[in-house]
Each structure stands twice: as structure tokens, then as C-alpha cells.
Symmetry: C2
Amino acid sequence: MDIQEGKQKFIESWGKMASDWGINRTMAQVHALLLVAPDALTADEVMDGLSISRGNANMNLRALIDWGLVHKKLKSGERKEYFYAEKDMWKVVRQIIIHRKKKELEPMLKVLDEVAGVEANCPQSESFCTVVKDIRTLSQKADKTLDTLIKADSSWFSTIFYQMVR
Amino acid sequence: MDIQEGKQKFIESWGKMASDWGINRTMAQVHALLLVAPDALTADEVMDGLSISRGNANMNLRALIDWGLVHKKLKSGERKEYFYAEKDMWKVVRQIIIHRKKKELEPMLKVLDEVAGVEANCPQSESFCTVVKDIRTLSQKADKTLDTLIKADSSWFSTIFYQMVR
DNA sequence: TTTTGTTTTCAAAAATAATTGAAACCAATG
DNA sequence: CATTGGTTTCAATTATTTTTGAAAACAAAA
């Protein structure tokens, strides 16, 4: 397998995985393309590289910037924008955690808190109260853990992983 | 908020969260419905409870069984099947990890291994090799960690969480 | 064997999500 | 200011995913 084929496979696979996780496939492919690019790319290069339209490229580049996974670079004397991906994988993981926590975990937690109002005057509906309480406890733990992870640095990350796998 | 309204909110929210994570919304709603149900439900009760068709209910109940999140129960003397959800949240988390790891992490890891063939005769394309190597290392760590998690019991789970949040 | 109650299947329809492309916009330059 | 090179927007289209519902399959009971 040569580099070109390898890149191709990587981009495809990264896109597939993302779409399994509810993330736009093309967004992930743009991300992958930038990850394996030796230098920052222009919107046109992204369009060509993935055979997608200008609108699509633009939308997904913006989304990636919004997620904090891609940055813009302006070359002096040039008018067009260049895009490059954050390549420190620990930063990448952290950005993804920050984004998904905010958009998905926190709203769920909010609902669980609301619903916990019911839980207060419990035994009426045993299983409902128990389940909500359990999920809420678990989610709160997850929330706190993620907060810690977000604040932690890369070496700490390795340390905890090492601990976990013994 | 009364219990009915609480259940409703919970089911909606569980479904929303699932669809954010690339899981069929209705599947998650069926799961939520069964989680908060005091007893096992029939397919018809699920259909009524969520206003969905028989085919849809059947498909998603099967999928939940496949994920190991729901079980079938046959009441003696009765012809129809009853369904109930696993309510031990640690088991639920574990089943989800098992399923998603197999379907999503492992295929990605396989591709990374293949692509690592390119990595072998590296410096040709610096960034590609570095990125692939980093992601591969990270994925392998995640894979091992999840294996440990899967084997671990609930108390261990709490312990590690406790450690993480200090 | 036939009837009856139930589950399963799957092609077609509906709903949802992603993509296109051309027009509008923006700002640097002549 | 008008032009040029580039970015953004978004209604319409296209692709993908989900759902329906009726027919087929199954299996217990008559």
C-alpha cells in the first residue's frame, strides 16, 4: 500500500466512524484530509481532494473551526484562507469532549434534574424513580469525570490510562 | 410535574441523546419506555406507548435484544411475548460499550493497522505517518481500557471514577 | 388439518439529513 | 468607484435513514 492509498483509506474510515457516532461524514473526511496534509489547504484544495462542492466544503470547514479542531491561517500577500488541523491528538480528544459534553450530555442532565422533581415524591412509581435516580447519578459522575479530563493535560491522560489497564 | 409527564420527558430526552450519538431514536425510546415500565410489556403496549407501527416496534425490540439491553419473557399460559429492560445501569453501560467497541472501534483499529504498513517506510510523508501513529496508539489505549472496563465490576467502576474526580 | 393469535419480513412511502450551485456578499486592489 | 478574487448563504435537489403496513410465516390450540 502506498501513501496515497493509505491516506484514502484513512479518510474513508475516519468518515465512516464519525457517521456511526452521529457526526456528518463529510465533516470528518475534511478533518481527516487536513490531518494528513503536510501543509494548510485552501477551500479549493479540500473541494478537489474530496470531490465536494464549494458550499459543502465551506460549511464543514466552519463546523470544524467551531469544534476547535481546525484553524484558519492567512498567508501574507495572499487573499485566500488556508486551513490546518490541530494535530495534537490529546487536544483533539479534548475538543471533542468539550463540544459533545456541552451539546449532548448537559441537556440530558438538565432534563434529569427536572424529572428528579417527580423522584422527590417517590414510591408511587418505584421503577421510574429508581431508574431516573441511577441514570442521574451515573451522568453526574460522567459529567464530573469529563470536567476533570478536560482540565487534565496529556501526561495525566496517559497516567490514568496506564492505571486502568494495570 | 407528575409521573406521566416525567416519563414522557425522559423518553423524549433519551431518544434525543441517542440520535445525537448515531443510534436510532425510536430504538432508544423503546428502551426508555421499558426502563421506566414497572413490568414487562408486550409489543402492543410498546406500539401504543410510543404510537409506532408493529413493524417498527418489532425491529427495534429485536435490535435492543441484540444489544443485550432488553430481554424476552414468556408468561406461562400466554402466547404473547413480554419484554423488559435490563435496569442495572452498570450492565447497561457495559453492554453498550461491548456493542459499540465491536462495531465501531475495532473496524477502525483494523484499518489503522493496515495503514500502518505505510507508516513502516515512513519519513516520505511526515505528517501522515505521525498522525496515523498517534491515532493508532490512542485507539489501542482506548481499546485496552474498554476491555478492562468490560471485565470490571460496578464497584471498580465507581472506584476509578472516584479516583478521576479526586 | 384448520383456525387463531402472534411475530417477522420487506417493498414502498415518508421523514430526515446532506449536498449542490448559483446568487449575494465582502473586502482588497486598481 | 468598479473590478476582481474570494467567501457565505440558502432554496432546491439528492441521498440516506426510518417507518409503515400488509402479506407471509409460525406455532399453539381446536
